[in-house]
């Protein structure tokens, strides 16, 4: 079964697939990686964004990517509100926030799932666009345009976010806020506002990620559950808070998965990629690009 051709193909597809995983994990890399919010509802928001894109595409024929951009501000606001709610009802009271936060966000995820079901039903949905279902020929290789879109979106988003976080004052504050809120106050930044802003950004990114999700494959209301493991693993494997690392980790995961799918028993793919994650964590417990103190 082995051939160089197939291997090359698997690697190319894997890289692109990885970019897709990276794109859907980026928001989490901010909300969880930087803000320490155990946002297990991230994939639920992602699927919600997909449905929003679906709604615009189905009813108004808006191109899914454009739709993704259109809902970005809405998701930004949604993020602001969601964080406010989380803060007011929850974070403000302190007390081992991480674990309880997980339960809290599972609750939120379930609620979102149900709302989607009530609005859209349980059937799977997908969108149509000129670039879905077609492929780009590159010699012997054919690359689906869908994945190229994912590639472009992921790289651009990662670059923009990385720049934002390292070059701007707000960005640096976002990276600091989870480490010592009181100290950040002393720098003249309001940690709550910083977090809220960051959460808004993380959620806004989901608008576009959601568009990608439904461009790459159809969605159904409970799809979020499949993405909890994937997105969290990518973020953790990268090392919390490293956006570039997120993309690299995602690509490693994508390539591993793709190679196993192509060349070995496809049914072993998840075992292999997650075993690899375990191996990486065992060697570098702080993740590939993690900072440790």
């Amino acid at each position: 079964m082995f051939s160089l051709d197939l291997l090359l193909d698997a690697v190319v597809i894997g890289v692109l697939l990885g970019c897709f995983y990276g794109a859907v994990s980026l928001g989490l890399s901010v909300s969880f990686g930087l803000l320490d919010v155990p946002h297990v509802a991230h994939p639920a928001f992602l699927v919600l964004a997909s449905y929003a894109v679906y709604f615009l595409n189905e009813n108004y024929g808006v191109d899914p990517l454009v739709a993704g951009l259109v809902i970005t501000p809405i998701f930004f606001l949604l993020g602001l509100t969601a964080y406010r709610l989380y803060y007011e009802t929850f974070e403000k009271r302190g007390s081992d926030a991480a674990v309880r936060g997980i339960a809290f966000f599972f609750g939120v995820a379930f609620i979102i799932e149900v709302l989607i079901i009530l609005q859209f039903g349980v059937d799977q949905r997908s969108v149509s666009a000129s670039y879905i279902g077609k492929a780009w020929r590159l010699g012997d290789i054919r690359i689906p345009y869908r994945l190229l879109v994912a590639f472009a979106v992921a790289t651009v988003l990662t670059m923009l976010l990385t720049l934002y976080l390292s070059r701007t004052f707000m960005g640096r504050a976002i990276r600091a806020v989870a480490q010592d809120q009181e100290a950040l106050r002393l720098m003249g930044a309001n940690p709550i506002k910083v977090k809220q802003w960051a959460f808004g950004i993380a959620t806004a990114v989901l608008g576009i990620s959601g568009a990608l999700l439904i461009i790459v494959s159809p969605v159904d209301p409970t799809l979020d559950r499949a993405y909890i493991g994937r997105t969290f693993c990518v973020v953790v494997m990268a090392g919390l808070g490293s956006l570039g690392g997120t993309l690299v980790a995602a690509i490693i995961l994508g390539v591993a998965e793709s190679i196993v799918l192509t060349l070995f028993g496809a049914s072993w793919a998840p075992a292999i990629s997650f075993a690899m994650l375990l191996a990486i964590l065992a060697v570098r417990p702080q993740g590939l690009f993690g900072r440790r103190s």
Partner: protein
């Protein structure tokens, strides 16, 4: 007192789409019966339905509740194999009649003689047989098998392997892909590299879409005569609408299609009612796949109760086993294991489908029936690539 029929039905989780459509079919039957004045001289039919969340672990408690607390008069099984399997031993032990709902070979080990499956499956291997027949007739000399690593698809794959071995049909590719696979490009590429003639795909709804897309993007090669067979999901309205022209050429199993040969007494009326109610309930607007069989479950019960004149489970079972029953999906007769005597699974080829139009599927000719012979509505177009345009 009303006649209570109890069941669990997946209304959340992976099987919810099918479960809801199936349930609507059953509810339409209930309303029809009750409108006619009920059964056994005026007793209305009442359904007791619980959500099993598409999981096997919920159903034992639910059926115990139905039997021991709700004291229902009759039991229907939930949609699909996984939630049904755990209750088989229980109903057998208690000697209760159970009308199955699209599960696959759940009774083969248990051997309960009061089990009757509403699905058109028939003998376990008939499904693979009919598809491979079509493929081989079109000149297929080798087979590739792509299956989901999930319960139902694996059962299909197993029979396909057996049939292929029996016929000395070489299997050049045999892979099971894991649930929640996102991207099928790599797999399709690998499959294509083996240059198979017949591609048998046993897949689940989200994956079916992914596989077809990948086939369209990557190409599958000119060697392929037929493609499809066991793709679950391509029967669902939402999926079909979205896949649009990508469906063309695929030969896939089905249970009911709007071809002339498929209309029986009451079929048309049923779909009129279904269409109206499905839209309100936000479930599959077409509902060909499961809903009429849910209705048929009701019809089976109805006829048995009327003939026996009581709710005696043994007598009902005996009646069901020994007679042929008229339903909106055609006549049904059971063999000893509670499955259909003969398979009524259709193999049909998508033709001339255009994008973004769900209404097109209501007219005949979009899915040409190739099997079984007595329902046939057209001929196969092969090879696959030729059939796609």
């Amino acid at each position: 007192a009303p006649i209570k029929i109890g069941m669990s039905m997946p209304q959340t989780g992976g099987l919810a789409g099918g479960g809801k459509a199936s349930l609507l079919g059953i509810e339409i039957w209930r309303d029809d019966v009750n409108a006619k004045g009920g059964l056994l001289g005026g007793r209305k039919v009442e359904l007791v339905v619980y959500d099993d969340k598409s999981s096997a672990s919920e159903t034992p408690a639910i059926y115990s509740k139905l039997i021991d607390i709700d004291k229902v008069d009759l039991l229907f099984a939930p949609y699909a194999t996984v939630p049904t399997a755990p209750i088989m031993p229980m109903v057998k032990q208690r000697g209760l009649l159970l009308i199955g709902n699209f599960s696959f070979q759940v009774n083969s080990k248990v051997g309960h003689d009061m089990w009757f499956n509403n699905a058109p499956w028939g003998p376990a291997d008939s499904w693979a047989t009919s598809y491979l027949d079509i493929g081989q007739k079109a000149g297929g000399k080798s087979m590739a098998l792509l299956s989901a690593d999930q319960e139902f698809a694996q059962n299909l794959a197993k029979t396909a392997r057996e049939v292929a071995t029996k016929r000395n049909l070489p299997i050049v590719f045999d892979q099971a892909y894991p649930p929640n696979t996102v991207e099928f490009s790599s797999i399709i590429r690998a499959l294509k590299a083996t240059k198979p003639d017949i591609v048998y795909v046993a897949s689940y709804p989200p994956d079916s879409t992914g596989i077809l897309r990948a086939v369209n993007e990557i190409g599958i090669g000119d060697s392929v005569k037929v493609f499809g067979g066991g793709m679950v999901g391509l029967q669902f309205g939402a999926v079909m609408e979205n896949m649009g022209s990508l469906l063309n050429g695929v030969v896939n199993y089905n249970t009911w299609l709007p071809e002339k040969s498929m209309y029986f007494e009451g079929t048309r009326e049923f779909f009129d009612k279904y269409t109206k109610r499905a839209v309100e309930a936000k479930i599959d607007p077409l509902g060909y796949y499961l809903a009429p069989f849910g209705y048929a479950s009701g019809q089976l019960t109805e006829q048995a109760i009327s003939a026996v004149g009581s709710l005696d489970q043994k007598a009902l079972a005996k009646y069901l086993r020994e007679n042929t029953h008229k339903t909106i999906v055609g006549p049904i007769a059971f063999s000893a294991d509670g499955e259909r005597k003969e398979t009524a699974v259709l193999q049909a080829q998508f033709r001339g489908v255009v994008d973004k139009n769900i209404e097109q599927f209501r007219s005949s000719g979009k899915q040409v029936i190739l099997f079984p012979d007595h329902l046939k509505s057209g001929e196969l177009v092969a090879p696959f690539e030729a059939a796609r345009t």
